[in-house]
């Protein structure tokens, strides 16, 4: 802090050092959704649900895990996306028909800021792992009840089903001039066929590319500029290699929007929402 005389620039200023320490956002409540339940008929294809935890006052991202309430792992036809609130199911095995209770646990990324555990609770440290009340604002769980029923009489179970992503691809955005990468993850296929992923970028082809090794959309730094700020339609096509003996290849199409944002506007909007700060750990500013 510098303090001088407004009318007399020649006066000798006082300079006082001080530190501003900014801790990450402290979550006060982290509330799971109410328990979900739905019925799935075997053979009806890929179905999914999503949910939302409520956290106040922050907006950390989270990692999701799931298991059956008896502690055993999920059957292979059920999947939970690790970084998105997304549960999917896809089976055509009649033997799968049953009632499943799935416990989904979300763990917030604020665990990244936990202090070293020393067995002594420091009430001034909001990230002291020795705080007995801390766990509830870092992690929480809810239950999904899934009832799998056999297909109705006469229902012909398809010999081949469409491949899919978990989670379902959603709209993407990045700032002009910046590098960007987003992976859709592994493509699943119930029949374990090989799956080919093709992406039609449309007008975005001039700056975007697709890596089939990682199923990722890639944009190199400076591949875009302010003139590219626009919303682009992108079509993602998954095709398995099923032969004619099983009614031919299964094909799934996802249509998403890829937005190239004005970095100034995007930055302001992001900061106005105070989201960016939560991506940083403890900072100390010497002023």
């Amino acid at each position: 802090m510098h303090t001088g005389l407004e009318l007399y620039p020649s006066a000798v200023e006082a300079t006082t050092d001080f530190k501003v320490t900014i801790l990450p956002c402290v979550v006060t409540t982290y509330t799971p959704p109410t328990d979900l339940s739905f019925t799935y008929a075997v053979g009806q294809g890929h179905r999914s649900i999503s949910w939302s935890f409520a956290q106040v006052p922050c907006s950390y991202e989270a990692t999701y895990t799931a298991k059956l309430v008896d502690g055993t792992s999920l059957p292979s036809f059920m999947k939970v996306a690790a970084r998105e609130p997304y549960f999917s199911i896809n089976t055509k095995e009649a033997s799968s028909a049953d009632h499943y209770q799935i416990e989904v646990t979300a763990t917030l990324d604020n665990t990244l800021y936990l202090s070293a555990e020393d067995g002594v609770f420091n009430p001034l440290d909001p990230f002291d792992p020795d705080n007995p009340d801390l766990a509830q604002v870092f992690s929480n769980s809810f239950t999904i009840d899934v009832t799998l029923i056999e297909p109705p009489a006469g229902f012909v179970v398809p010999r081949n089903t469409e491949p899919y992503f978990v989670p379902k691809p959603h709209d993407l955005e990045f700032n002009a001039g910046e590098a960007f990468e987003h992976s859709f993850g592994k493509a699943f296929d119930l029949e374990i066929h090989n799956v080919t992923v093709e992406v039609d970028f449309g007008e975005a082809r001039k700056f975007a590319s697709f890596s089939s090794l990682t199923n990722s959309i890639l944009v190199q730094p400076n591949a875009t500029d302010i003139s590219d700020v626009l919303v682009y339609n992108v079509k993602i096509t998954l095709t398995d290699d099923a032969g004619a003996d099983v009614d031919g290849p299964g094909v799934t199409e996802y249509k998403i929007k890829l937005s190239v944002n004005d970095p100034l506007i995007a930055d302001k909007q992001l900061r106005d929402k105070n989201e960016v700060y939560q991506k940083y750990g403890k900072f100390v500013y010497d002023l």
Binding site: M1, H2, T3, G4, L5, E6, L7, Y8, S10, A11, V12, E13, A14, T15, T16, D17, F18, K19, V20, T21, I22, L23, P24, C25, V26, P57, C58, P126, D267, R271, N274, Y277, Q278, Y280, F283, V284, Y285, D286, L287
Partner: protein
């Protein structure tokens, strides 16, 4: 003149002469008073002490003492007519600012229009008007001219700020957080006032310390959360200004 013994026609003769009667106090040979220093420099608001050597006559204090008067000669007030209406004088009525005690004038200019170089002289009069009675034919003599330079101490004042506490805050902690910061004195105001009241408003600004272990991934934009809301006058006791307290604010 006539001889009392002679009977000659030339026994008497005459020779004319002129007898002039004069006031001794008017015609004594005067020695002028003398300023002790040709130039003296003072701060505005500082009490000035201007010493001078006494005037004298060839008969010393024959006329019951001496009277002195401080005369404005040149400077920032040179164009101002003298309040007395005496066309031979310029400048302000110096008796309102300076007081003579013995062989010393003291005064304390307090307004900024006194800043600058002023030329004065001291007019010494042979006689003491307080005891003069009917004796009024006193002569005067002027001292050499001397300079009084009045400077603004705020120009070289040194600001002293109170220690600032380190600050711990949290993103989205229910901000903005404000912190009162209005304790900065300056040396000129401390010497001539209450520590705050001489040199006007304070200015505050923030910089990064160069020797820090600071992480600055995005300093320029992070700074939107930290700032100063206005220029404070630095006087916590000032009831008029500022109308709102000066603060450093955190907005996270």
């Amino acid at each position: 003149m006539e001889s009392t013994y002679s009977t000659h026609a030339n026994r008497e003769a005459s020779d004319d002469f002129t007898l002039t009667l004069r006031d001794i106090c008017w015609d004594l040979t005067l020695t002028a008073p003398q300023a002790a220093a040709a130039t003296q420099t003072f701060d505005l608001w500082q009490t000035e002490a201007v010493n001078f050597n006494a005037m004298n006559t060839n008969l010393g204090d024959y006329c019951f003492g001496f009277t002195y008067e401080l005369i404005y000669v040149d400077g920032p007030f040179a164009a101002d007519p003298h309040p007395s209406g005496d066309a031979s004088l310029v400048g302000p009525d110096l008796t309102l600012t300076y007081t003579q005690t013995g062989l010393q004038y003291t005064g304390t200019p307090v307004t900024f229009n006194w800043l600058g170089t002023h030329k004065y002289l001291i007019r010494g009069t042979n006689g003491n008007t307080a005891t003069a009675g009917n004796r009024r034919l006193y002569n005067s003599i002027d001292s050499n001219e001397f300079e009084i330079v009045i400077i603004n101490p705020c120009l070289t004042s040194t600001v002293s700020a109170q220690p600032v506490s380190d600050y711990l805050t949290t993103v989205l902690a229910g901000v903005p957080t404000t912190w009162l910061y209005d304790e900065a004195t300056d040396s000129a105001s401390t010497t001539y006032g209450d520590g705050y009241d001489r040199c006007g408003a304070r200015k505050h600004y923030l910089t990064d310390s160069n020797n820090s272990q600071t992480q600055y991934p995005d300093v320029s934009t992070h700074r939107r959360w930290l700032g100063l809301n206005y220029l404070a006058d630095g006087d916590p006791a000032d009831p008029v200004q500022p109308s709102t307290p000066p603060v450093v604010f955190f907005s996270l």
